[in-house]
Symmetry: C2
Subunit: 295 residues, 2 copies
């Protein structure tokens, strides 16, 4: 699937968007963009009042009516109020705003309980060098996933791909080698995952690994190296061994490859837009639109 | 230091180059290039005779006289003959040719004994997005380096930088975070390494970490994130946590970033050009010239 299809704007979208912390220029700009490109109602949970920032945009009163402030003077009450609203009131998507990863994780545990342990983060990349979107998991949320967590992530990815109406979804399990080696645990896990899903006779997804990054996105290299995987050059999603690998790839793709990216959290009942505070405005906007597409 | 300075050709170079396996177009092309750009003598250790491949280049007889074949019909004798020559005869550099990583490692153990355990691989990148060469260790040789090995690698890097006449050398210890976190072992090692070298009062090198890839090569990002390392945006070399990280970065830089790269092995008495069989011809040529510069 092409990146543009993933983040396609739903202009008739009328749902409720809840965002945790927006008191920064970038997040306000994203909210203004959303007001203008959809019919969404936006609920801002914050400690600081961002209405002055918003007023500077000189918005039409019709748009302003769709912004709702939920202010609280401490984090505990704020988290509680947002959790309650998520439970009671209709919510289309949740948005991680100007809040640290650690704090947002705490909020998720409070709002979703143990279920939050089976969430996983995906970063969807538009790479000029690859002919379709490359999905990467996990660059931030599941730091050192165990085998069971990896299985769960693959099912989250499957549901994601079904919702996005992929015809078929190829999942490559990343390693530094293309064959299982005892001394490289990522490659052993990969071979086990491949076997596990081969036995399940899954038709919609193909799981293959271990596979290196070059083989995953370039079939010619795989042929040259005589390491031809079923998914070589055709990978839709890559599962990375751990956060050190994921983080390095994320930074390489965005900084060195100038890739566009949209990031969300999978596994919850609602899609969660999940960006880093150092991400660009466009990434925040794209991520919210991707979450809306999934809602 | 700029990449061009690192791989600058020494046209008056008259030393002996020993290459293990050259029976492939790419390696022959590199050898022809060396004959034409230096006065080196080249010793080819191989099982197959590549003289026909070489004849197709229609070389001047003067150049041909500087190619010497050392043929053997089995790997054991070949390794033995090359090891003996390395011990007895003068050698400027050793070149990994068309031979697998696993086999070449075996050869190194035979030729250099236990000393080969403290070798480390460096890949020197010319990234269009970075203003100087970025050295990465280790993307292939030290797979899951222990703390002691990392210390040793830092000293290898220091000797490398001194030989290449750097004024000062900044070493960043890569992680997925910029502060030590107990659950992320790469960050803990990084903090320990930083402390270790701070105590040694090293002047020529600065060792700092943990540092993420974006902070390492972009000072503005580090400032924005309020994670200002002493080496942010100024890193000369990055130590990666393990081969899964190193391999992913290597593939991202070359495939996505179209980076030029030269690779050698540090720690031996002689520089060793150490490329992957899937590397481009230019990488093989640059790596040999880098090794010559160090010899």
């Amino acid at each position: 699937m092409h990146y543009k299809q993933l983040i396609q704007k739903k202009e008739n979208f009328t749902g409720n968007i809840r965002i945790l912390f927006a008191n920064e220029e970038k997040y306000i700009a994203a909210i203004i963009n959303l007001l203008k490109t959809t019919h969404a109602h936006i609920y801002i949970y914050d400690i600081e009042d961002a209405s002055e920032l918003i007023r500077s945009y000189d918005l039409d009163i019709q748009l302003l009516r769709r912004i709702h402030f939920k202010l609280n003077d401490n984090l505990r009450d704020l988290f509680y109020s947002c959790s309650q609203d998520l439970e009671k009131d209709s919510t289309s998507i949740l948005v991680k705003g100007n809040i640290s990863t650690t704090r947002f994780k705490k909020f998720l545990t409070q709002a979703f309980g143990n279920a939050s342990q089976s969430f996983n983060h995906i970063a969807c990349f538009d790479l000029p060098q690859y002919y379709k979107t490359l999905v990467l998991s996990d660059v931030v949320y599941q730091r050192f996933p165990e085998y069971k967590t990896k299985i769960n992530t693959i099912f989250n990815l499957k549901r994601f791909a079904q919702s996005m109406e992929y015809d078929h979804f190829n999942i490559g399990i990343l390693s530094s080698v293309n064959q299982p080696f005892v001394k490289i645990s990522s490659s052993i896990d990969a071979a086990k995952l491949k076997e596990h899903f081969a036995k399940m006779n899954e038709r919609f997804i193909t799981v293959d690994g271990p596979i290196t990054l070059d083989n995953a996105i370039d079939k010619n290299i795989a042929i040259q190296k005589n390491e031809m995987s079923e998914v070589a050059g055709e990978v839709d999603a890559l599962l990375v061994p751990d956060i050190d690998v994921g983080n390095a790839i994320y930074k390489s793709f965005t900084l060195i490859g100038h890739a566009q990216v949209a990031s969300i959290l999978l596994g919850a009942a609602i899609p969660i837009s999940y960006t880093s505070r150092s991400d660009q405005l466009q990434t925040i906007i794209d991520s919210i639109h991707l979450a809306i597409s999934l809602s």
